[in-house]
């Protein structure tokens, strides 16, 4: 059961980052981290619709969560894909042994995931993405928890709409495309930082985030700089101890 007090703190923390000139990818990544924290789940991921029926990965709490998202995209099956198609939350006990997702389930189970939840990102009549929670046996969400997590999904939608005032359908298209390409920029930068510093990609992402904060830059802007300006890569500082 999620603590209501803890949830209130998370909402305040999330709302605080939702003001001014925020970086969408960084915000959504933070949201997935908050979601792991309040649910106790080891992995949380977020997919966005690319506005033409396709889905793309946009944020994840860890590289493992990212792999679970990509796995769903590869096979076009899984909680997130289903949630997007129906617009409704999806809850499934993988350990029960159903054959709902023959490709996704065995691999998720092997990774220690027994329960999956997906919550839609809804904007008016549209479903623009889904928030996925990958849980192990002792962290199953209760009904009341689901309502709280849905509200975190709603926060993600607000952020996407908010980053640029979306007043017409076309702006949403522009915004989704931008967000999806930003994700590619960040993955390119993660690769460059990982090789440049001889570290893993997950660590590389943390270094990018920490340096963006230190330099008061948007995460995506720093990522872009790192792959276009060799000096920017050389100037990155390791994480503080």
């Amino acid at each position: 059961m999620i603590s209501t007090n803890r949830m209130a703190e998370v909402f305040v923390a999330v709302a605080d980052t939702l003001v001014g000139d925020f970086d969408l990818i960084d915000f959504l990544h933070g949201l997935t981290l908050h979601t792991t924290e309040v649910t106790g789940s080891p992995a949380v991921g977020l997919l966005l619709s690319d506005d033409s029926g396709g889905l793309s990965h946009v944020a994840a709490s860890s590289e493992d969560a990212q792999l679970l998202e990509l796995l769903q995209l590869q096979h076009s099956e899984g909680p997130c894909v289903e949630c997007m198609a129906t617009g409704r939350p999806v809850v499934e006990d993988l350990a029960a042994g159903g054959d709902r997702w023959p490709n996704f389930s065995p691999i998720a189970l092997a990774a220690g995931i027994t329960h999956v939840h997906a919550f839609p990102l809804r904007l008016r009549e549209e479903v623009i993405g889904a928030l996925n929670i990958f849980a192990s046996a002792d962290e199953v969400l209760e009904t009341d928890d689901s309502r709280l997590v849905q509200s975190l999904a709603d926060m993600a939608t607000i952020a996407i709409v908010q980053e640029r005032a979306i007043t017409r359908a076309e702006t949403l298209t522009e915004q989704l495309q931008f967000a999806l390409n930003s994700r590619v920029v960040i993955e390119q930068a993660k690769g460059a930082v990982a090789r440049g510093l001889g570290i893993g990609v997950e660590h590389a992402f943390e270094i990018l985030r920490a340096n963006a904060r230190r330099q008061r830059m948007k995460l995506t802007e720093l990522a872009r700089l790192v792959v276009t300006d060799p000096d920017a890569l050389a100037k990155l500082r390791p994480l503080p101890e």
């Binding site: 931008f178 390409n181 993955e187 390119q188």
Partner: protein
């Protein structure tokens, strides 16, 4: 975790767009990438019912560049943004996002008064600019000039994006052409979007000390030369292998440590 081959999102749309491009006969007056970009613009114009379409390839900063336009594009539209010094394409390139202006004569178009005036005079009612980009690599824009006001449908948006995406591959992979100048049958394989491919691009950039765009081309060239999928090659790179420093097309992968 298993690394099976990914079917890229919207792959059908890419196939549709590619099929449309293949129906357009290549011009004998153009070579290489320009020849295919002209076909692409012509196919987009026909497929989307436009007045014309143009691909602008730009240098960082968005200043100098070249334009390739569909054959039917009115002459005054081809270089309109260079001529008037502003327009939605400029914004699209600078911000790396589509700029969709469904009523150019209305409020939507007033951001660029010079462009608005000149384009409306040429019969343009709506203009849609899509970036030719791949992550941090920005190559230029695909601009679509429509004679009617109104937004693109989501089908049209995905088709337009597919054309832009093909444009990126044409520019990055000049070698993907047949000896007779056609697009090679292996062309479809260039569309793979996975986080690990993007990560590998950043890694190759550092390993070889080349630009990101060069790293992307090297990865693709190597994948085509070896018959690996981009995904499989990307995984090898992430696991610690570096592409050969010479031409990126050798069959051997060199361990970096």
């Amino acid at each position: 975790m298993a690394a099976t081959r990914a079917l890229p999102a919207g792959s059908d749309r890419n196939a549709d767009a590619l099929a449309m491009i293949r129906t357009v006969a290549p011009s004998s007056e153009l070579d290489g990438a320009a020849r295919h970009l002209e076909r692409l613009c012509t196919a987009a114009t026909e497929g989307l019912g436009l007045l014309g379409a143009a691909v602008r390839l730009l240098q960082p900063g968005g200043t100098a560049g070249v334009t390739v336009a569909a054959r039917e594009t009115p002459a005054g539209l081809v270089d309109i943004e260079f001529d008037v010094g502003e327009g939605p394409g400029e914004k699209c390139y600078a911000q790396s996002r589509p700029v969709l202006v469904s009523d150019l004569a209305g409020r939507d178009g007033t951001e660029w008064p010079g462009f608005q005036h000149a384009a409306v005079e040429q019969g343009v009612a709506a203009v849609f600019a899509f970036p030719l980009h791949l992550g941090a690599v920005s190559l230029g824009t695909l601009e679509l000039f429509s004679p009617q006001t109104g937004p693109l449908t989501s089908e049209e948006v995905s088709l337009a994006r597919a054309f832009a995406e093909i444009g990126v591959v044409v520019v990055l992979d000049g070698h993907l052409t047949d000896s007779d100048g056609g697009l090679s049958p292996g062309f479809e394989r260039a569309f793979e979007h996975r986080a690990d491919i993007a990560q590998a691009q950043g890694m190759v950039m550092v390993d070889l000390g080349v630009s990101l765009v060069e790293a992307i081309s090297r990865l693709r060239a190597h994948a085509f030369a070896t018959g690996d999928s981009l995904s499989d090659l990307a995984r090898k790179v992430i696991e610690g292998y570096a592409l050969p420093a010479d031409d990126g097309r050798s069959d051997d992968l060199d361990p970096i440590r």
